[in-house]
Amino acid sequence: MEQLLEQLFNGLQLGFVYALIALGYTMVYGIIRLINFAHGDVFMIGAFVGVLGYSSWGLPWPVAILLAMAVCAVLGVVIEFLAYRPLRHKGAPSIAALITAIGVSFFIEYFTSLDFVFGPDHRVVKLPFDIKRYSVGGAVVTNVQLLIFGVVIVLVLFLQYLVRYTKMGKAMRAVSQDMDAARLMGINVDRVVSFTFFIGSALAAAAGVLFAFAYPQIKPFMGIMPGLKAFTAAVLGGIGSIPGALLGALIMGQAEVLTAAYLTTDFKDAVAFAILILVLLVKPAGLLGRSGPEKV
């Protein structure tokens, strides 16, 4: 029983990190219908900046996290401006944007693998604080896990507030419903898109640092799998929906950890995707996604 509880905590930890990444995917997809494959690499940059921030540059670790978020937020805006905006203004087919996203992803991975940037090898992360263990109902919870739960909950509440109660949030929702109509209503669509990348990338950076705390190893290609799984989580929950991304991420995290703990570690990557395929077959728009009537 205690062991199950402990595994559930582990699954929650993984799921919460996926959730932060998935939010960026789901917001960008909701607004410009683009699977931003470079998002996983922004997550990686966030991990590096955060870890280097407190280990090499001597910043206190909370400041390092904020720095990582700021750097990645700017990076996200720059990526959108240089790579996706020209295509959008040209009215290019969406597959061109998708391929460009893959190109940006490769660029970040290979560029950061160069020796004068981060180098191709993985680094072991030294935590900025000692790991403490607490007992909850017989199960062990670490302070890293509590930190992850706390940070993610705060960020998600902040995002919910932003999207629901601010003017920018309202603009974002309008653009995601109908970009042309939003433009006609006087909304500066490009600015809304930039802002979406800004927020989404900052969340990914926070996820990156937390991920490095929980699984203390970083390398330039570390973003691929978490990115893919987080995107899958967003699709699972219904892409474009923020609660959906959270739900999907929690399911993915639990599925992965529980499979590894109780069935087999060999197939843990396969189970999450098998769940996705099954869910899509029953609910093609995801668990909480709205599937509108087919347009003719």
Binding site: L87, F107, Y110, A270, P284
Partner: protein, 336 residues
């Protein structure tokens, strides 16, 4: 009129056959005499194998509009099946052709079984479902030693006989191109194009959309399986990491860069892209070899921004000038 065009068709066919045979003869001579080094000969073989696989995706995505990100999975299924057969049958006269057929058949069968449910999904959702399928195949290959120790699991499958000669690879590529071309120009091919352009309208016009989507998906995946079988018997070593989802992206890049709905574009880009990557390896000074991935990415981004419709933009080149293919300007998946 009718007769004349028929006569012209025969002449064209003969001319093409002569040209292709001549090309084969020249390449074979160059390889025998060593003017094409074994290294470049291997690159050439790889580029042709890539062409076969890319033609499969070109049919599925470029012509029928079904977004698949799991192509490398089918390629891997074909490779492992074919290698398993030649390894267990030994070196008999029929084992290699049989292995190639089986590789294509298994990939096609799996495509049928998985396509039946998931081809109902649209655009990005189909993409992510097929991507998930690709990851599942990769995980299965990682654990294939549990099915048969011969397949090696995550250690890879080694000591496969090198049966894929240049003749096999070249002529099967020609066959694949011919098959794809004839399919695209046939009535079922037009039905698939109609599905790509507007599935609902195609349905209303009486096209059995499920049937044609499934047909072209099975066919395209079989081509991937065939290419996998050739690959296995050219490189004699298989590893699951050669078939992960990033390899599916490689094929997708080729099809999109070539221009959706253009077979010529697919063929030219598959060969050109493979050679470009190898050429970079040769021309870059040792200190800059690590920049290969960066250059690759930058070329990709710039090409997409400059020519979002792909290099050939849906046009075909035949012996007698270019002809536009049935492709509406500016259409691409998932715009709605």
């Amino acid at each position: 009129m009718e007769k004349q065009s028929q006569k012209q068709n025969v002449i064209t066919a003969v001319l093409v056959a002569v040209a292709v045979t001549a090309l084969y003869a020249i390449l074979e001579v160059l390889r025998r005499t060593g003017l094409i080094t074994p290294y470049w000969a291997q690159v050439m073989d790889l580029s042709l194998i890539m062409t076969i696989s890319a033609l499969g995706l070109s049919l599925i995505y470029g012509f029928a509009g079904q977004f698949s990100l799991g192509h490398a999975g089918f390629y891997g299924l074909g490779a492992y099946t074919a290698a398993f057969i030649t390894k267990s049958m030994g070196d008999t006269l029929f084992s290699f052709p049989l292995a190639l057929l089986a590789g294509a058949a298994v990939a096609g069968l799996v495509a049928y079984l998985i396509g039946l449910p998931i081809l109902r999904l649209r655009s990005d959702y189909l993409g992510i479902a097929t991507l998930g399928f690709g990851v599942i195949v990769k995980v299965m290959l990682d654990n294939s030693d549990k099915i048969s120790p011969m397949m090696g699991g995550s250690r890879g499958m080694s000591n496969i006989a090198q049966f894929s000669s240049f003749a096999w690879i070249f002529w099967l590529t020609v066959l694949a191109i011919l098959l794809a071309r004839n399919l695209v120009l046939s009535a079922p091919g037009r039905a698939c194009i109609a599905v790509r352009e507007d599935e609902v309208a195609a349905d209303i016009m009486g096209i059995n959309t499920t049937h044609f989507k499934l047909m072209i998906f099975v066919l395209g995946c079989s081509l991937a399986g065939l290419a996998g079988g050739l690959y296995a018997h050219r490189y004699t070593f298989l590893h699951p990491s050669s078939f992960d989802f990033l390899k599916s992206f490689d094929v997708l890049l080729i099809v999109v860069l070539g221009g959706l709905g253009s077979l010529t574009g697919t063929v030219v880009t598959a060969v050109g892209w493979t050679f470009l990557l190898e050429w970079l390896r040769v021309v870059l000074p040792q200190a800059f070899l690590d920049w290969r991935g960066v250059i690759y990415a930058v070329v990709l981004i710039i090409l997409m921004i400059v020519r979002p419709q792909g290099l050939f933009g849906g046009k075909e080149i035949s012996l007698f000038g270019t002809r536009p293919s049935a492709r509406r300007e500016g259409s691409g998946h998932a715009s709605a």
